[in-house]
Symmetry: D3
Subunit: 268 residues, 6 copies
């Protein structure tokens, strides 16, 4: 098996040396490791979709993201990002979820993330429907206190109960607010759009102090000015980044479960 470590850091193996279809698919074909011990950052899969209200399938999200990630190389020549030059990163596999019981899956996720965070490692999550962000934020806040949030999504995911349940993919940030997991003045939600059950769909978010940036404020614009404002808003305290693939326009990610037209572009 070809080596994919250079000095003390792991690097995605170059397709110049290892053919792209080669290898059991870890994220970016990085080495796999049983725990987060000794890592600066770790890819973790959370293969769950039983919290979704429309098309399921995100349970296979981690598997497919890993498969497609065989294309990713170690440097970003445009931005100069070179994460693998200074961070030890690996893929530590998936959380074992309970497909038949959402609250129990949340418990399993929370416990797994507490263990990852205890080792000092930063988790990079491959989802999974958005329900999973609730237990992840629980684990983060237990360590760091209330965190800031950069949230890219078509939906605010601050819903109340649905079909009689409080835990599902539309409510993680409502729970997070109610349990004090978010530093609400440092929350921004970007790309929000779509029809709503309420004539004032962002009222709850704004009452909490969130900044809501609807998709229509992003159309046909560079988001660099917004990103500068977001950086100022976040300051230098802990921040969680939550990216829902439906934040993008469905043209770029047609497989998403709850598509909303007129979304963000990859360039943004």
């Amino acid at each position: 098996a070809p080596s994919c470590r250079s000095s003390r850091f792991n690097v995605p193996p170059s397709a110049l040396l290892v053919a792209r279809p080669v290898g059991v698919c870890s994220m970016m074909r990085l080495p796999m490791q049983a725990s987060a011990e000794g890592l600066d950052a770790a890819f973790v899969g959370v293969p769950l979709d039983t919290g979704t209200s429309n098309r399921p399938g995100a349970r296979f999200g981690p598997r497919q993201i890993r498969a497609e990630s065989a294309m990713v190389r170690r440097y970003n020549g445009s931005t100069g990002a070179a994460p693998f030059d200074s961070l030890r990163v690996a893929d530590i596999g998936d959380v074992n979820v309970n497909l038949y019981n959402l609250p129990d899956s949340c418990r399993l996720i929370r416990e797994s993330y507490q263990e990852i965070l205890a080792s000092g490692c930063v988790p990079l999550t491959l989802g999974g429907d958005h329900t999973i962000t609730y237990p992840i934020l629980q684990a983060l806040a237990a360590k760091h206190g209330a965190v800031g949030l950069v949230h890219v999504d078509a939906h605010t995911d601050t819903g109340d109960t649905a079909l009689g349940e409080s835990i599902y993919h539309g409510s993680p940030f409502r729970h997070a607010v109610e349990e004090g997991l978010l530093d609400c003045g440092r929350v921004v939600q970007i790309g929000i759009r779509g029809s709503s059950y309420d004539p004032e769909p962002h009222k709850y978010c704004r009452e909490q102090g969130f900044r809501v940036v609807p998709a229509e404020e992003c159309w046909m614009k560079s988001l660099e000015p917004l990103m500068r404002e977001v950086r100022a808003q976040m300051g230098d305290k802990p921040v969680y980044i939550s990216f829902d693939i439906d934040g993008l326009d469905p043209a770029y990610a047609p497989g998403t479960g709850t598509p909303e037209i007129a979304g963000l572009t990859p360039a943004q």
Copy 2:
């Protein structure tokens, strides 16, 4: 809108009179009705897949079965079956399931079926993953006592707990046995196959008195002799027929969630 009733019975509208793509898709394009009142038999959808252990998607089963059913005509010329000549049949829509809570979905299904059965109507279910058979059998047994069962499937679905849960798509008949919903001497399971967690996979079923007909006993054979035996086994007491699409070979139904090779054919 073209009529699809003849005298006192409903009939699927003929494609000679109503073009096949025409109409909001009810089952066989039969009339839709809010309740089972006054019907001999009713198609009911149970759009649930949160009990599945592998590929989800069966929540859209009722929708797709209805769409494809636009091809079905009122007579079966080969067998002489002419159900619409003597039975009043309609589509009564779907049970409203709780996508985020399996036990609660089971309650909703059971209550809906109790209501359907109270009206004297025979329910014809469009699933949905196999979890739904458990509450359906509860409703049936509450009315008829323990019932016989003709069960076509790749799996016996008599599993114990999975991922810590007792309710999921692998266990409905275990629950049915435990709650006395089945007349165990009048149970036959046909098409069973696939690898197993146990070296003696049919032991539990046979201990209950079920007849298990593995797929290999069906290969390349007419099942008419078996069907005669099954009719004798069932006698003239109430019987429930449960057909899991994975009983068929995946060549005939590739979209099934837990495919097992070497299954039954549609002719069988």
Copy 3:
């Protein structure tokens, strides 16, 4: 079956109360009704594609639009639109078309729309290839006189005969002009593009007084200024809106039958 009416108006059932996969798919899961009687607006399907010159399939357009519409909620929080607060809307099913005879299908559509319009209801059509707009305009003009037209499309659809026939998906607006169904000074065609049989493809349209807005005038621009001009052009007289899905770039709607690259975006 869960209720989807509030006071005297129908509303799309909330997915917080009725699971998205539940129900026989009417448009937005609104109530179904046999006729347009008593409605302010009605969704009507016209499942026809025998007028198409390239890829067929639009006969299943109404069925698929209804299926996907299960995602749509009652309010548009961005624009403030709340149609279901003041209009009684239902789905009245499909026109029964003659798949084998285009002129006869046109007659069937025209007659159905005359009946719908007679009840004072506004039809909201789910197509179907663009041929169907010709008989719809006949019915509209019979009631309202020549109407204005906002037409979003890749093609002007003002062609002369094709393969010897005058009725097909490329000619509805030619017929409409010739029969005086359009108030030609109040016609705008937006998103027009693609190669042509004629070096001056918009000559006919401009000679009639239509405003033609080619796609290249829309690229990477907000269309709000254009929309203001269109509103002024239309004035307060009756207007028909005809939206051909191929007006959008094929990235957003790849299934369209006659795709042309470099089209409009959903945000536009």
Copy 4:
């Protein structure tokens, strides 16, 4: 361009000499020729699907059959068939159909086939929905008188009017009977199945003297005995072979427009 002629006969080019993806796709990558002049047999496409009652798409049938035919080699080692050793065969392209007018398409097909037959060439048709067999039989009978028919199909295609039309994909053999194009005692229909509008679906056929072999008589059997009987039935007078892809089980040809389960297998 590599040669694909050997002596005076054309042969499909060997993939050992010409790579399979190479070449503008004619049938079996045979030479193309503008007319049937000088050929023993000619492949002809009839890209029409406006006669179909359910899923369209067969208009692209000739194109796809040609693309997939790049796999076919010149000999059949099992049967010993070596058609290209003694017959001059080419692809003469498609009949130009009128997509918007079925009766006119029938006229165009009939005229094209009269021309092909006048040259003494045997046409091998790539369809197209089954409507096209009607004008082909007209052309054949004009030359040969009433012909025998070996017809493999899920449906007898002897329907009366549909949606008010007499010409569509369900009626070609009804027209053929009525116009005396068939030698009815030498007609066999194999693989017939599916639900029906009539409790006695084969009555019309049998009254004409056709032999009808329902699919259930073919299940899990070699059809060699039947083929011997068919050869005897046909004798040595002219016979037309009409193979509808839905004669096969949909597992083998899922794209067919009007699928019926439990059909024939390719081996049969």
Copy 5:
């Protein structure tokens, strides 16, 4: 991460304990290991398809086989096979192939297999197009001498040069014969069919002493008698089993690159 070892043997983790979508996809979700050291048998991927003459894609074969293998459980209840009770099995990843140079890929495969065989482990290969069997047989014969061969395929793969090359997916067994890698009296080829370049397609094979069992000798029959004969033919000397997915009928495996109709069934 959940354990998947029991005592000294590895076992596929039960989906009752570890949810099916969980985990980086090794074969049957078995443990992964860098080398074959200490194993009785090892799954090895050879992700190569540059030897194919028609549709490529088999380079992703190992990845997809691993993904689908998440369904496989540890016992075969029908046959009593319980391989994981007595053999230590793991997934040792893929051979690093040279996508741009077939002979060099053959060298890389041969060398990898020599290493695997040196450790005393039996390789279980996930392909890849059939070219790869040539270097695998070279490695095997270097250790065991000429081996017997049970070869299930639509094609004999004993071709001579193609497009001027001797190494491609149609020739591995020609090379094997020429280099003395096969014990030709102990070779059986099953499921052979399809059109051919030669009127006597099996002549070469039979001249070498191979038994060729064409598909037509297998149709609608149990293959148990044949299997008994094959066991007798093989005796107790080393045998290689080579299973080309196109041995099956394309209904069961439509993605294969060179499909031939009327093949074997999974039950066979």
Copy 6:
């Protein structure tokens, strides 16, 4: 067969006269011709994908481009382009490639293009992976000397060896530089993006004097100013235009083998 020639020029047949699905698919359904003799420009297919590092399939590129090209008409009304009014254009089929040997395929391509160029015809290539540009440039430079290059792509394709090989789809322009086939001051590469193996991914290109326009410089902008600069850069000496479909964002061409997000749009 309908005529598609007007006076001395060929023109794509109008879909008003010849139905779109009709005809064996040449490019734009233009006449086919065995050689380039007498043509101003010729479409040539190069159906090769064995140089690709990720998803193969481009070997069927020429076939699919031809199939989709049935939509293209003779004029571009927006730009006024009317190529068929003054140029004699035909489809001359495909180069016969060696699927199993990349360097030999390069030789075959080079020789074919030398022959085409010798006749004075301009080749318009339908690929095929990007490896094929290397032998094409060899043939061009042999006739015209070093040429300018307008190269639209996600990648610069100036890589050194990969998997030990120098010829593959990532290196054609490296070879071109080394063999003096390019007039390096007249090279522009547009749309370049994606992660890289090197922190300075464009260094080599810029050292050769290429202009590199990364995708981020194109985002949400008209490229007309750039096109004016490119025209000035190219001057009036010979220029080759090489368009890799992955230059576009994958939303517009999802089937490409090595997709990179955030690419160009068709309008650009």
